[in-house]
Amino acid sequence: MKFTIDWLKNHLDTKLNDEKIIDKLTNVGLEVESFQSQPSELDHFLVAKIISAEKHPNADRLKVCEVDIGKKENIKVVCGAPNAKQNLITVYAPPGALIPKNQMKLSISNIRGVTSYGMLCSEAELKLSDESEGITELSTKKYRSKIGKSYFLNKNPKTIDLSITPNRADCLGIRGIARDLAAAGSGKLRKKKFSKIKFSGQQNLKVKITKEKHQGCSAFGSLLIKGVQNKESPKWLKDKLLSVGHKPISAIVDITNYVMLDINRPLHAYDADKIDTEIVVRNSKKGESFEALDNKKYVLEENMCVITDKSGILGLGGIIGGTRSATELGTKNILLESAYFHPKSIRKTSRLLSIDTDAKHRFERGIDPNSIEEGLLLAAELIQKICGGEISKKDIKINERFKQSKINFPISKLQSITGFKVPEKEMKKILESLGFKLKTKKNILDLVVPSWRPDIEQGIDIVEEITRIIGYDKIKTELPEKVRIKPTLNNQQKLFHFLQRSVASKGYFETVTWSFTDSRINDLFKEDKKEIEIVNPISSDLNVLRSSIFSNLIFYLKKNLDRGFKDISLFEIGPIFTGNKPGEQEIILAGLKSGLDSRLNWIEKERKLDVFDSKRDVVQTLYEIGLDPYKININTKTPNYYHPGKSGAIYQNYADKFPIAFFGEIHPNILNKVGLKTDALVIFEIFLDRIKIGKNKLKDLKSKFQYSDFQKSERDFAFVMDKNLEIQELIKIITDVDKDLIKSIRVFDVYEGENIDKDKKSVALNITIQSSKKSLTDEDLNNLNKLIISSVENKTGAKLRS
C-alpha cells in the first residue's frame, strides 16, 4: 500500500515530521517497507567523465569515448560532438533511457563498426536549453565528486510503502492509516466533509440481486450520472495517482481509483448506454464467458458472482469489469456501482481464474459494508466537478443486511495477556478513536466493532488493538524461569545427535540437502518404494520426495569431483519418504567415501577404498552408541544399489527381521548411470528409527568391575574350510565352545590359492583363553583345544590344517 505524506494530511492534522510519522506507523503495526521518491525517467541520466576520446577508426567526425560512469568498468560511447574531450564532465544516458527532447528510446547500437553503449547528451537533448552544438559541459569543481550519480534531482514526492498484513483491510485506504495514527496520538483525524449534491431524478435502471445459494453479493448501490464529458484528468488528480504508482487513464476511471485509494472503497463505472435494459447480480453458470478489462476472455465455472444485463455478463463482481460496458472518452451517461461482495466468494473465484486486481485484493480482505453510500457520493461529486453531468438519487439494493458485531470485553483481560495495566479511561479513549462504540458495565466494556474492522471478532482482538496503540515497548521483560517439565531430549533425539557427531568424527563432512530430488536419480535408489510426486515442484529435476538420501549425495559428490576433489567423505542425517501421508517417513544416516586411502602418502601405502572401510566406520559407530558387538549379526541381503558381492546388512540381534544398517561398495552400474568417475566409492546407511536403545542410563549400564589376574594363554589355529563358510559363523561356533574361557578371537590370515583346494580357504585364528577362577593347567588347555577343533570340524566340515 503506497501513499504520500501529503495525501495522508488530507485526513490527518499532524505536526509530526516525516521521520516521526514513519516510526509511529511501525509502532502501531503498519510496517514501512520503504520511504522514497517514485522513480523517474530522468533518474537514468548520470554525471559522467570522459576518460579518453579517440578518433573513430571508420569516421572522421566521430569519436570513440571511454567514459567513467561510476561503475567498476568504464564504458564505450561513440560521440559526434566537437567538444567531447578527455576529462570533460558531462551527462550520460544509458541504453533504455528516454531522451526528453524527442522521446527517443536509446539502445545499444553499432555505429560504423564500433559498439556504443548509450549516449552523451547535449543541453538541447535534455531540454535544458537550445544549445545543441556540443555535449553538456559540467563544472569540474561542482561535479567531480558526483560521477555516477543521477544528474537530475528526483522531484517526485516521497512515497511510503506499507506492507499491510491481511487482517488490516481498513488500512488499504489512506483514511484508515490516518485513523490509526490519530488513535496513537500522532494527530487529529479530520472530520469527513459531507457533500452537498443536487440530485436530479431517480436511478431508473432496474437492479436486482437474485436470491440463491452461494450469492456472493449482499448489497448493490448505484446511481446514474447523465450528460458527462469524460476527459483526461486534471493535473492534481493525475499527480496524486502517479505519486502512488497508479497510471492515469481517464477522469472517470481515475476518480473511481482515487476513491478506492482514499477510503478503501472500490467502485465501478459502467457506460450506462451500453447496459441492456437492467442489471442482474447472480451466480454464473458453467461455461459462460466474457471479455474483461485486462483484454482476456474468461470462461466461468458455476456459482461465481457476476454482474449481468439482458445480453449477458458485464463483469465479475468485485474483481474485474468487462469491455462491453467500459467507459470511454466518448461516454455520455454512466452508472456508478458501489457494492459489497463476500470475501470468500471473491477469493474462490479469483483463485479459480487466477485474477489479481486492486478491487479483488480489497474485497477478499473485507470492505466496510457501510461505505457504499459514501463511496457513491464522493465519486459522483468529483465526476460532476470534472466532467459535469447530472446525478441521480442513489439506489441501494440489499440482499443480506450487515450485522455489526458486538464484544463484551472484560477489562482485566488486558493485564492478564500483556502483563501490564492500562487505566480504563485510556482504554476507552483508544477504542473510541479507533471507531468503537462503547458502554461500561461493571468491569466489562460493551463494544460495537466498527464496520470497517471485519478482523475483530473477540476479546483477544481488543487486547491487540489497545496494546499496539499504546506500544509494545510498554510490555515488561519477565526473566525466564528455569523450571523443567520434561528432559530436553528423548532417547531417540539423543541417538540422533550422538550418531551425527560420531560419524563426523570419522572424517565425514555433514551436509544438508533438499528433501526432494530428481526422480531419474531417485529411481536408482528407490528399490520397490513408492514414488512420491510433488504436485507443484519448484523445477522438474526436484520433482519427487527422496526415497533415499543417496540420490542427493551422489549428485553433489559428482559436483565436487567436477571441482577437482578426489577423496571425499560426506554424510547426511535426515528423512526419507515412503508415502505422502504424515508419518510415512524414516530418519536415515547415509554416508559415502570416495577415492583412495593414503593418496600420495610418503609413509603409508596408497590403496583403493573398499567394503571394509565402510564396515569399519559403520560398525565402530554402532559400537559407540552402545550396541553389543557379540549380538550384531551380518548377512549379505543388501539393496540393489550395493555391489552384490561386496556389501553387508547389519542386524542388531541375530533373529531380527529388519537390518539397522547397510555397508559396502556401490554397484558399478550406478557409477555408470550417473556418469561418475572415481577410484572407488563405498557407502553406508544407518536406520535410526529401527535401533532399539534400552531405557537404562549410563549409571545403570556400568556393571560391577570384574577382572581376572589368572594366567592368560594364546593358541593359534588354522582351519581349511569351505570357501563360502562365513567367518562370523566360525567365530560364533568357537565362542559357543566356552563363553567364559574364550576371551577373544582374532582372524590373522585368510588364504586361498596354492596348496589349498579350489573351493576351500584357509583361515588362521588367534584365540585368547583365560579363566576368572583359576590358573589353567596344561591339561585344561589341551582339553579346550580339542573341544574347539572338534566343534569346528563337526559343525562346519573344516579340517585343522597340519
Binding site: R168, K482, V483, T488, L489, E510, V535, Q585
Partner: protein, 355 residues
C-alpha cells in the same frame, strides 16, 4: 691369601677392563654359573668345621653380593651405552608429514540447532519434532488459517496430492498442534526442523529450517514472551547487550502478534549484533490465539501462553557471517570445510556455546 680374596681382586680388575656385553656375560658365567668360581667356593664349605664355616660364609656372601652388584651395574651401563650408540644412527626427519588423520565437520545448521537446544534447555524447554509431510488441517486450519484465508497466500505451499490435502509443512507450527493434541498442559517446548515453501531466489530456498517455541501455562503473558526471547537472543549471539524491538504484526495463529527486530550495525562489511541504529527482523511471535487452543482441546479460559518461530538458517548466517542462504544446501566441499564445525565442539552451557 684366601681364595676368596684372590677371586675378588682378580675379578674387580677384570671388571674394570670389560667394555662389551658379551664379555661381561662371560664373566658373570665364570663367577656365578653352576660351576662358577663363587659357586665352587660355596661347595667347598661343606668340608669346613662350624667355626670356620661361619667366618668364611660371611666373607663369601659379602664378596658374592659385592661382585654381583658390580656386575649388574656394569651390565646396565653397557646396555645404556649400547642403546645410546644405536640411537646415533636412528634419526628421522620429524618434519615429514605425520600419518594421516581425518576429522569431519558438522553442518552449521546442525550446530546452530544444538546451540538453540542448549540455550532453551537451560530455561526448561524440551525438544519436540513432527513430520515433514503434514496434512492441510495441522498446517493451516488448526492454526486458525481456514481455507480461503488470504494468509494462506503468504505461504507458497508444496502439495503432494491433487486435492491439496497433504503437503510439505510450510512452518514448524504444526508441531504445536501435534504436541498439544497429544498431551496435557502445561507445555514448554521448542521444535526445530525442516520447512518448505516453493520459493527460490538469492534469499529464499525451497527448503529451510525453523525452530518453533511454545509455552502454555496458567498465567503466561507477553512479558514472559519478551523475557524469553531477550534471554535467547543474548545467549545465542553471545553478547552482553542486545537491542531488541517488538513491533505489532499479524499471524493468524497468534493474537496479539509481534515481529521482533534486533539492532545492528555494519563494520567493515560485517554485521555487528547489539549495536547501531539499524534494525533487522529476525522472528515472529505472539500469544497463542484462543481459536488455536480450542482446536487442540485446551481451554483458553484456563490456559494461555506464547509461541514463536525463528529462521534457523538466518540465525546461522548472522552469527557466523555467512552471506548466501543457497550455499547451505549445495554441498560444496570447500564451503562445508570452511563453515563446518568440529564434531567435538558440542554446544553446552558450562563450556560456552561456542569456542
Amino acid at each position: 691369601m684366601s681364595d676368596i680374596i684372590k677371586i675378588r681382586e682378580e675379578y674387580l680388575s677384570k671388571l674394570k677392563e670389560i667394555s662389551d656385553l658379551k664379555e661381561i656375560n662371560q664373566l658373570k658365567f665364570e663367577l656365578f654359573g653352576k660351576s662358577g668360581k663363587i659357586s665352587n667356593e660355596f661347595k667347598k664349605m661343606g668340608s669346613l668345621n662350624p667355626e670356620e664355616r661361619k667366618i668364611i660364609s660371611s666373607q663369601l656372601n659379602d664378596t658374592k653380593n659385592e661382585l654381583q652388584n658390580l656386575v649388574e651395574k656394569k651390565i646396565k651401563d653397557l646396555e645404556i651405552n649400547e642403546i645410546n650408540l644405536k640411537l646415533k644412527n636412528e634419526r628421522v626427519d620429524v618434519t615429514l608429514p605425520s600419518r594421516s588423520f581425518n576429522r569431519g565437520k558438522i553442518h552449521p545448521v546442525s550446530q546452530v540447532i544444538d546451540e538453540i537446544s542448549s540455550i532453551f534447555s537451560e530455561i526448561g524447554f524440551s525438544v519436540e519434532e513432527g513430520p515433514d509431510v503434514e496434512n492441510e488441517y495441522n498446517n493451516f486450519t488448526a492454526l486458525n488459517t481456514p481455507e480461503n484465508h488470504p494468509a494462506r497466500d503468504m505461504h507458497d505451499t508444496f502439495y503432494l496430492d491433487k486435492n491439496k490435502k497433504f503437503l510439505l509443512r510450510t512452518h514448524t507450527s504444526p508441531v504445536q498442534v501435534r504436541t498439544m493434541l497429544d498431551g496435557k498442559p502445561p507445555f514448554k517446548i521448542i521444535a526445530p526442523g525442516r520447512t518448505y515453501r516453493s520459493d527460490s531466489d538469492q534469499t529464499h530456498a525451497p527448503m529451510f529450517h525453523q525452530v518453533e517455541g511454545l509455552h502454555i501455562d496458567k498465567n503466561i503473558n507477553m512479558g514472559h514472551l519478551k523475557g524469553c526471547l531477550n534471554y535467547f537472543i543474548k545467549e545465542f549471539f553471545e553478547v552482553d547487550k542486545i537491542k531488541m524491538r517488538f513491533r505489532p504484526s499479524h499471524f493468524p495463529f497468534t493474537e496479539p502478534s509481534a515481529e521482533v527486530d534486533i539492532g545492528y550495525e555494519l563494520k567493515d562489511g560485517k554485521i555487528i549484533i547489539g549495536e547501531g541504529e539499524k534494525w533487522l527482523e529476525i522472528l515472529g511471535c505472539g500469544m497463542v490465539h484462543p481459536n488455536v487452543l480450542k482446536n487442540v482441546k485446551v481451554d483458553p479460559n484456563k490456559y494461555q501462553g506464547y509461541a514463536f518461530g525463528i529462521g534457523i538458517d538466518r540465525l546461522a548466517m548472522l552469527k557466523y557471517g555467512i552471506n548466501d542462504l543457497r550455499a547451505f544446501f549445495e554441498t560444496d566441499y570447500r564451503w562445508l570445510s570452511h563453515f563446518g564445525f568440529d564434531p567435538l565442539d558440542v554446544p553446552s552451557s558450562y563450556r560456552g556455546l561456542s569456542r
